[in-house]
């Protein structure tokens, strides 16, 4: 499998040519003719705002200004690029969000960027859900949206930042996962990505349907254009409750979470350290003295 001499850039680059010669990868290999992409987007508290926990130790998602998670914008961008590269094919990109009422903003932003449809799952019972329950709701919503070829996620949320929902979602949907893509190529039902793995740069291949996650290296996300903002107002945006998805309220939420937070505490502010101004080399000497005093040298 691993051939260190392989030039990874050209492997991904020549992917389209390689696949053009294989008969199994022609269009319509999905079992249905149209292609469906679902991009999962999360509404998160603004990382530059003063983020807080509530008295029940859940993240305050209402009292702090929120927005579409920056890292999910890259997932929206890649979904749109896949659609655009498949010129002439029937591709639908649906933005899916699970979150409180205000979270509809994340879906709207995705619609403004160019996705075709929005689905917002909102239900009071969902509040406080852990990653496992969130992945359950997402999986049920994806099943309701219809036969899906590609589920696209961001690298991590900017709040909890666990990075496990794509894996959990793939497990629940019984799909392969191709994660942390820095470069994405698709052709027919084949997906190929390049990524910086833990110990190596890798090219990963998979066959749709699958779950894909992309990093901020995959390409700058577009800003909504004025035209996009106007067009978004007319795009379908469906709001679903748990009962619409056939999920029992007792399966989700804080009380049935598989993990429990015992305590949250603001980290004590670091006590201000010593700051010196460098004058004619005094900074270097002071720095070395500090390092020596702390036994680093």
């Amino acid at each position: 499998m691993s051939d260190p001499t392989v030039d990874l850039c050209s492997t991904v680059g020549s992917f389209a040519c390689n696949l053009a010669n294989t008969s199994e990868c022609t269009g319509g290999a999905f079992g249905h003719t149209a292609m469906n992409i679902v991009v999962c987007v999360k509404y998160v508290p603004d990382a530059t705002a003063d983020r807080q926990f509530q008295s029940d130790n859940t993240v305050d998602r209402v009292g702090v200004d929120g927005l579409l998670s920056e890292l999910d914008e890259y997932a929206v961008e890649q979904s749109l690029q896949i659609k655009e590269k498949r010129d002439g094919e029937d591709v639908t990109v649906t933005a899916l969000c699970v979150g409180p009422e205000k979270a509809v903003d994340a879906v709207r932003k995705s619609l403004q960027m160019g996705v075709d449809k929005g689905v917002h799952v909102v239900d009071d019972a969902i509040a406080g859900s852990d990653a496992a329950a969130t992945s359950l709701v997402l999986a049920k919503a994806i099943e309701k949206i219809g036969p899906v070829d590609l589920v696209v996620c961001g690298l991590a949320s900017t709040d909890a930042a666990m990075s496990v929902v794509p894996a959990m979602l793939a497990e629940r949907l019984g799909l392969p996962q191709v994660t942390q893509a820095a470069v994405v190529e698709t052709q027919g039902d084949q997906v190929r990505i390049k990524r910086d793995g833990d110990a190596a740069t890798e090219v990963i291949g998979g066959t749709m349907p699958l779950v894909l996650s992309v990093t901020d290296q995959s390409g700058e996300a577009r800003y909504p254009s004025f035209k996009g903002i106007m067009a978004a107002k007319k795009k379908p945006l469906e709001t679903l409750s748990l009962s619409d998805l056939g999920v029992d309220a007792g399966q989700v939420g804080l009380s049935v979470a598989w993990t429990a937070v015992e305590e949250t505490a603001a980290r004590p502010p670091r006590t201000a350290g010593e700051i010196v101004k460098d004058e004619d080399g005094s900074g270097a000497t002071a720095l070395v003295e500090f390092l020596a005093s702390k036994k680093f040298i």
Binding site: D3, A161, Q177, T201, E202, W258, E262, E263, V276, K277
Partner: protein
Amino acid sequence: MSEVLVLVDHVDGAVKKPTYELLALAARLGEPSAVFIGSADQGAAVADAVKGYGAAKVYVVDDAQIKGYLVAPKAEALEQLIAKTSPAAVLIPSSAEGKEVAGRLAIKTSSGLITDAVDVQPGPVTTQSVFAGNFTVTAKVTQGTPIITVKPNSAAPVESAGAGAVEEFTPVISDAAKTAQIVASQPRQATGRPELTEAAIVVSGGRGTGGNFEPVDNFADSLGAAVGASRAAVDSGWKPHTFQVGQTGKTVSPQLYVAAGISGAIQHRAGMQTSKTIIAVNKDEEAPLFELVDFGVVGDLHAVLPAATEQIVARKG
């Protein structure tokens, strides 16, 4: 005493330091059992390594059917080991792959998952650092087998003689798990420096380097440190993405973190705020990172770092 499974972090059979840290944490919870998923002929050497850090058992899972595929087969192997051993907990390194294995495993076994723990105490009760390090959260798993991924540098390895009894374990891997394939893999070139996430000292450079990383690299080498970079430096092409410290790069928690020419945006702080000691060198005395530091130098890194490097080298003689 119940077993505690520890997934061995290794590269081609060479055991990495986080494994020993996990074994130290596992010993607090029960009897540490190392799980080595790799080439069976390396099993004996791995067992030798981990038993010096308290592993009572070593499960050797030959990866002939696992290698070359992404995380799903590893999750299946661990699921079957959980069924066999009913462990008190499963500890997994908090790498990108480790967290994905843990995510699948949690759903397979209907078990609670805690990621990026920086401490694990009996219970198990975990400690996590969240919101860019501004909050500390203690938590526990309330359902199934506690599955916990642990960040590097969360515990000191403890040398202690374990029995290290080797047991070969052959999981049944489904065809469904063998769908996402590694087509090609290029091991990262060795830099001769410690691994960024595992290093005791990290020296990072940012926009202030102006693209000249030589002072940063040399200063790092004088301290035996790993080199990191801010997103601005990576986006400018001055260092590869694998050097990036921050929200979308690596999270580091070394004994000493030196930020040179880095202003300290929240995204960068998210990747280094839990470092034990923080030093900043920056021309701009208003740089937000100075609020976090134990020691700061307002000055040009191109002057300060080379002079400091020279003095350190002289001291080391």
